[in-house]
């Protein structure tokens, strides 16, 4: 088992240099910039609201045009379907003005790289008008090596006025595995080229020597070269338009608008914080398998501490860096920022600079979500960064719940919460070499809300405008026949509000001898789309390989099937990380990605909604009964109201019938609604948690309310009927833990945990 001894956080390491070499780069309060570089730092505070709005809209548009330019010129499926890019505008000292509506975590990797550049390149080779810098070093600030940034300073009259930047995922930049996702890498030396920011464009011209160095490690230098031109054109377009704005309105007005965009966002952010009690909120989740053959699981923790007008995020309790599952500081921070932006700053149109003034990121170096050099990090976005992102929704949800307005912004963990990465390669139907990843799991699912169901196959929250290819697109490009792609009933986490459904895609080779697979899939044994406030998790990832099926015979008979069971063959549990796994003519490879997490107690879901779910093929009849406790008429499918009522009461009664403790009811003043199941009331002995329904006392707020609940350890399959035996993949003993109110028998909270895990101390209020 992983070493979980207490290790120092960044804030506890005053003597360590976080310079982006062996330790991640973490900028200090002030930046150490060479006096050679003159910063433009005068601005006007006196801007009328009309000019402000006109210029604000212009700046937003410039950033949008920047992204559209990259997409247009790149033309690659990565840019156009997956939207795996993001443009930004930052002030001269690298505060965000805007970032784009594309790949969201890329925001977090942008400002740190610009700050590093200011500190490390302003003296030698210098930052000049007409320069652009290329960068992809994850210790400086990239998420993984394939996310290549192009950073462009914008000068006005000899002073650095602001920055425009973009980040675009590259198809291949080297490393031991085609497409540069290296599931078996042991360190970054097995992975793609590492480039700390270098001046690749000087005086508006590409430096040919540097470009050749950049392209040399790639298996597809032509595509990387075209993308580089797209990135360059994007920066040029944005730079030109900003200069035109400066000419028209004056530099101090434009800078004033930029500063006001940030300060406005800051005011709104602080107003939100002022409505939230102080405290700490915590979530725990697990990643599986850090190298081929590994059967361990690794905890990932996220903690947010709110004190006055400040938030601090930590990852204490997270496992040590190991194998190929890691991310660096920038990737972790960028992931956490995705959730912060969506829950707390969504009205601010991607202007996060204001909020960031009041947020500290204080992770523990050496953990797998804040890895030191030279850890392997090429698969960071699909594993370590997702396990950093999604649980953050839960801690922020519990943090804001007490405010009735902010409560509406809550969202549960979405689908593909550990992206089931399937890279395949070989010879295509035309005899050419190819290597490509299965993009379909980007269709994800959106988790439930506090006031409604999640969105089935509604995409991944971190890429809010992406689209997956049509079946016909994929079959045109690659030697596959896709047998089916369909939404899966019961895949969404159960709850008062149900998580969105995920889907399954199954394919066989077509017009080729063999397909070779490289797979990275965590989230296959333990669900990672966990529920919230009593909600259940969505389905796990399920990757199935059916060898030597009858599919060809059945096709000869003129029949198609849309499930694997009818097609025979030997079912093999695909190892979570493996390389060069061979798929032949009659073999079928199928991937189900994880669904959205559920919100609230499933027994409180409106029975008519469950009936509608069954009619819409979102929930099976069996699950309607076993999970939701709803009895439907066999013929009409309508709810049998009386039987449903008694079944649900019976379920609750059974949960509490053997409880032997006393149930004390609190009647003091209601002080806070903590979650949908827990209130704080004033008791005789101070402030106590109690059940929001029956007011049963759940203990003093200085303790963990879970101690006062009835806890039940249940098999994972109870949490979602589609989850299979975890023993196929991991040695650990995971389970579904329910905490039941001893007074009324409703669920207060759930956990996905290991048998030996202590109760997670998810809420600590300072009232």
């Amino acid at each position: 088992m992983n070493n979980l001894q207490r290790m120092p956080k960044v804030s506890e390491l005053p003597d360590v240099s976080f310079d982006g070499v062996n330790e991640p780069y973490i900028p200090g309060e002030t930046l150490n910039i060479s006096p050679k570089l003159k910063l433009h730092s005068k601005w006007s505070d006196d801007i009328d609201p009309i000019s402000y709005e006109v210029i604000r809209h212009n700046l937003w548009n410039i950033n949008e045009e920047h992204g559209a330019t990259i997409q247009r010129i790149s033309g690659s499926p990565v840019a156009i379907y997956a939207f795996d890019l993001n443009p930004s505008i930052l002030t001269e000292d690298a505060e965000f003005v805007f970032f784009g509506p594309y790949m969201q975590y890329m925001s977090g990797v942008t400002d740190v790289q610009v700050k590093w550049l200011l500190e490390n390149r302003s003296d030698n080779p210098g930052i000049e008008d007409g320069d652009m810098f290329l960068a992809n070093d994850p210790w400086v600030g990239a998420a993984h090596q394939m996310d290549v940034m192009l950073i462009c300073p914008v000068f006005w009259e000899g002073e650095l006025f602001c920055w425009v930047t973009n980040c675009l995922h590259q198809h291949d930049i080297g490393g031991i595995t085609p497409a540069s996702f290296c599931p078996s890498a042991e360190s970054t030396f097995d992975e793609g080229i590492l480039i700390p920011p270098i001046k690749i464009i000087e005086n508006n011209e590409i430096r040919r020597d540097i470009e050749e160095l950049y392209l040399r490690s790639s298996r597809s230098p032509e595509i990387v070269a075209l993308d580089f031109r797209a990135q360059m054109a994007g920066n040029m377009a944005a730079k030109e338009r900003i200069l035109a704005l400066i000419k028209r309105y004056g530099p101090e007005t434009i800078k004033g608008v930029m500063k006001k965009i940030i300060s406005t966002a800051e005011v709104d952010f602080l107003e939100k914080l002022s409505k939230i009690p102080d405290g700490e909120w915590r979530e725990r989740s697990y990643v599986e398998c850090c190298r081929p053959g590994d059967r361990q699981v690794y905890p990932a923790h996220i903690l947010v501490r709110k004190k006055g007008n400040h938030l601090t995020f930590e990852n204490e309790g997270t496992a040590l860096q190991d194998g190929a599952m890691n991310a660096t500081y920038a990737g972790w921070r960028g992931s956490v920022m995705v959730a912060i932006n969506q829950i707390l700053c969504w009205e601010q149109s991607f202007a996060m600079g204001g909020a960031l003034r009041h947020i500290t990121f204080d992770p523990t170096p050496g953990t797998f979500t804040c890895a030191r050099f030279p850890a392997s990090v090429s698969t960071a976005p699909v594993q370590a960064m997702e396990i950093a992102l999604y649980p953050t929704y839960n801690v922020l949800a519990k943090m804001v719940y007490s405010d009735p307005e902010m409560r509406k912004d809550i969202m549960c963990t979405g689908g593909s919460s550990q992206f089931p990465t399937v890279f395949f390669n070989g010879l295509d139907q035309r005899g050419d070499r190819y290597a490509m990843g299965l993009i379909d799991p980007l269709a994800g699912a959106i988790g439930a809300f506090s006031n409604g169901d999640g969105i089935s196959t509604g995409g991944q929250a971190r890429t809010p405008i992406c689209k997956i290819p049509n079946i016909e697109h994929t079959e045109q490009l690659y030697p596959l026949l896709i047998l089916y792609r369909r939404e899966i009933a019961d895949s969404g986490g159960a709850g008062k509000y149900r998580g969105g459904l995920s889907a399954e895609v199954a394919f066989m080779p077509h017009n080729t001898e063999e397909i070779l697979h490289n797979t990275v899939s965590s989230g296959s044994a333990l669900p990672t789309s966990i529920g919230m406030m009593g909600g259940y998790p969505g389905v796990t990832n399920i990757i199935t390989f059916s060898k030597d099926t009858d599919v060809l015979t059945r096709m000869d008979e003129g029949l198609l099937f849309d499930d694997l069971e009818a097609l025979g063959g030997e079912t093999i549990a695909v190892p979570l990380r493996q390389e060069n796994f061979s798929q032949k003519a009659a073999d079928i490879f199928s991937v189900t990605w994880s669904g959205g997490g559920g919100y609230g107690e499933p027994l409180e879901r409106e029975p008519s909604r469950v009936a509608e779910d069954v009619r819409a093929y979102s929930v099976t009849r069996e699950a309607a009964h076993t999970v939701y406790g709803v009895v439907l008429d066999r013929e009409t499918g309508d709810v049998n109201v009386a039987l449903t009522k008694s079944l649900r009461e019976d379920r609750r009664h059974k949960r509490i019938q053997s409880y032997e403790g006393d149930v004390k009811t609190l009647e003091g003043e209601l002080i806070l609604e903590v979650t949908q199941n827990i209130n704080v009331r004033q008791g005789d002995a101070g402030k106590h948690y109690c059940c929001s329904r029956c007011s049963a006392d759940l203990g003093a707020i200085s303790g963990n309310y879970k101690e006062a609940c009835i806890s039940e350890n249940l098999p994972l399959s109870v949490s979602n009927p589609l989850i299979g035996d975890p023993d196929r993949f991991v040695d650990a003993d995971p389970l579904f833990r329910q905490f039941i109110c001893p007074g009324c028998g409703f669920i207060v909270e759930t956990e996905i945990c290991l048998r030996d895990d202590p109760f997670l101390d998810d809420i600590r209020l300072q009232l």
Partner: protein, 701 residues
């Protein structure tokens, strides 16, 4: 008796009718739209116009050579969810295509800056529930080879099951059917036998394009609006026949032309969202006469601002339609829209001293505060009224008196909360909206490699001429044309009357280099045969000159961007093929920037296309031959106080009757030019000039 062309266009509030005589006389009329049965509003507007000419409805119908109709009936059915109960038959295993929606949530009409707020970001209600989608065994691959033949037994069971569930229309869409339509056509045959009365659509008939989500959505939408649209059009066609109109009714379609009522009944999807298209075809026609081949068309009404392009004399095309978050294939005129109209709401953030305009709109109900229908939040129209741009007595042909005092009150409140003077604040509100429109023009042009400086801007719709003098120049254009001032607000009805008959045929076949002339010619010949068959069938309606225009869309292999290259004809030589590559690179650079193409990559042909056009009789516009600088008597109506942002003050400003201005008249701003239902706002440093067709041109001084 004179013979006439008639264009009728149904809008949200009014149904517009334009009658053009072969003597060039133009008559326009409006009648309230009648949503319970739109044909009443159509006939009413025609009666009003006929009446102006001194004829009865029958008389005018008998002497009409071409009657063209733009309908919103399909669009309304989709928005109001009143379409047919549709069943889908598709390839087994792929039943969920329209539910998965390519894993996106459909961004139409969304404020992209709020796109991360997922709680208000759901998918649209599915067009067809999963219980009415039947997958059957059949499979074709990317080459068009049959992998599994159509299973007729399953087909019959599926049809029976759908019929038992009471479907009123059936959409058939199999994977790769555009490569091999036989399976779909066989199902259609079986349906004709089992359920002859059910409305049936095959994807390979309607939109034989690559990409099953957008193709199936098109097919399902066609089935969804089919029975309703067909019923309406056939009823209307019969009424016109009864009234003595002797030719087939022509219906405006999204592709930028018209189709016969018969074709519209088969493929009602072609009429979906066709409303704004007629404005572009009218601009194309007027541009031809005036000698403008590059036009940015801008149509501003109460709730939206639509931008279209005419490039080298042809409307810019797109192959994707969007309605209610559904994306579907359809050859159409590319129109970009934002929710910036007169009804755009003003939002104030008092804490930060900020103001925003739109995208929320007061719509037609309650509408702006000055409508006096219960609106309480300031809008762009309220600001325009306060500034003096609009006369409270002349709005919508004087049918509706605007409450200026109420507008002043809300604008005053907004100004007070921002610590501004009310007039500067009102001017600011209008400016914010105008700059948003300029940004949309920029998006529709610059972001696609088109330079707006090479274009004139046509401004129409109720509010276009009011704001064009700012947004057009802000976007970089050199000149604004307010076409046919009398008709600016009924421009789409005129455009309907000016449209040619158009059929678009497509074949998708993804072919990598090396290209062969014979393979290409074969596809083009097959398109030609389809068009010939259609015109043979429609004989009688197609007396005009027929012309065929062929093109191929090419792209870099492995990339997405397609570039359309026009071809000399259907029969290509190896020499024509050899030229394609160079033309592709030229056009690619033009669209995507210098050095953006990559000569080492192979090219792929994707879409072969034929646009078949039949010229219809055209409105003859009367030209004035002599120009005069002298402004006729009675044109100057008086003056009113108007606040000009550029001057920073209110000025007593002359008001002219634009309809009485004649060729050669020039007016220097500041001035207000009024017509019966729209207002041209002429800012300082702008000059208006009336050309020999009576269009008003605005330039910067």
């Amino acid at each position: 008796m004179t013979s006439y062309l008639i264009g009728v266009d149904i809008g949200g509030t009014f149904t517009d009718c334009v009658i053009v005589g072969d003597d060039g006389q133009i008559t326009t009329a409006k009648a309230p739209s009648t949503p319970e049965d739109y044909s009443r509003g159509v006939l009413n507007s025609m009666s009003v116009a006929a009446d102006q000419l001194g004829y009865s409805l029958e008389e005018i119908c008998r002497s009409t050579r071409l009657l063209t109709h733009g309908t919103t009936i399909g669009t309304n059915a989709v928005i109001q969810k009143r379409g047919a109960k549709v069943g889908i038959i598709t390839t087994k295993g792929h039943n969920d295509v329209i539910h998965i929606m390519r894993g996106s949530r459909g961004l139409t009409g969304r404020d992209i800056s709020k796109i991360i707020h997922f709680p208000e970001s759901s998918k649209p209600t599915p067009l067809v529930p999963k219980s009415l989608i039947e997958g059957i065994s059949e499979r074709v691959d990317y080459r068009g080879d049959v992998v599994v033949p159509l299973h007729e037994g399953e087909t019959r069971e599926a049809i029976k099951s759908l019929l038992d569930k009471g479907v009123e229309a059936i959409a058939i869409c199999f994977l790769w059917s555009f490569k091999r339509p036989e399976h779909e056509l066989r199902v259609k045959e079986i349906l004709a036998e089992m359920a002859p009365d059910v409305f049936v659509t095959c994807s390979s008939d309607l939109v034989p394009r690559w990409g099953e989500y957008e193709r199936l959505t098109a097919t399902a939408l066609n089935a969804y609006i089919g029975p309703l649209t067909a019923g309406y059009l056939l009823r209307l066609d019969q009424k016109f026949k009864d009234l003595g109109y002797a030719y087939p009714l022509q219906v405006v379609q999204c592709g930028g032309g018209t189709i016969s009522v018969e074709r519209a009944v088969q493929a009602p999807l072609l009429t979906l969202d066709s409303g704004p298209v007629a404005g572009v075809t009218g601009s194309k026609y007027l541009g031809q006469i005036m000698g403008y081949s590059n036009i940015i068309t801008t149509d501003m009404g109460g709730t939206s601002f639509d931008v279209g392009l005419v490039i080298d004399g042809e409307p810019a095309a797109s192959s994707l339609g969007l309605v209610n978050q559904y994306e579907y294939f359809l050859p159409n005129v590319d129109i970009q829209a934002i929710g910036a109209g007169g009804g755009s709401l003003v939002e104030i953030d008092e804490k930060n001293g900020l103001i925003k305009v739109g995208p929320q709109s007061a719509g037609a109900q309650p509408g702006p505060v000055c409508y006096g229908r219960g609106g309480t939040q300031a809008t762009v129209t309220d600001a325009a009224l306060v500034l003096g741009y609009i006369s409270p007595d002349k709005f919508a042909s004087g049918t509706m008196k605007l409450a200026k005092d109420q507008a002043e009150k809300v604008i005053y409140d907004v100004a007070a909360s921002l610590d501004m003077t009310p007039l500067a604040c009102a001017a600011g509100i209008v400016r914010i909206a105008e700059f948003q429109m300029a940004d949309l023009i920029r998006k529709a042009t610059v972001q696609r490699g088109i330079d707006p400086r090479d274009f004139v801007v046509f401004a129409f719709g109720g509010a276009g001429p009011m704001h064009a003098g700012v947004y057009a120049f802000e976007a970089g254009a050199k000149k604004v044309v307010v076409p046919q001032t009398k008709m600016a607000s009924t421009w789409c009805a005129f455009g309907a009357g000016a449209a040619d008959i158009l059929h678009v045929y497509e074949i998708v076949d993804i072919i990598a280099e090396p290209f062969g002339a014979s393979q290409f010619s074969q596809h083009l010949a097959s398109l030609e045969a389809q068009a010939d068959a259609q015109f043979d069938y429609e004989q009688g309606s197609t007396a005009g000159k027929i012309s065929y225009r062929y093109s191929i869309s090419l792209r870099h292999k492995g990339q997405i961007n397609e570039v359309e290259i026009f071809l000399p004809g259907a029969h290509l030589t190896e020499g024509d093929i050899a030229k394609l590559k160079g033309e592709f690179y030229d056009r690619y650079e033009q669209l995507y920037g210098l050095g953006s193409y990559y000569s080492k990559a192979k090219l792929e042909a994707v879409t072969f296309r034929l646009r078949a056009v039949v010229e219809t009789p055209k409105p003859q516009l009367v030209q004035s031959l002599t120009a005069t600088g002298e402004i006729p008597d009675g044109v100057l109506l008086g003056s009113r106080s108007v606040y000009w942002d550029g001057l920073g003050q209110s000025v007593d400003t002359p008001v002219y009757d634009a309809e009485l201005l004649v060729y050669g008249n020039a007016i220097v701003g500041p001035a207000i030019l009024e017509t019966v239902d729209t207002t041209i706002v002429l800012h300082p440093e702008r000059r208006a000039f009336v050309d020999h067709f009576g269009n008003v041109e605005i330039t910067q001084i």
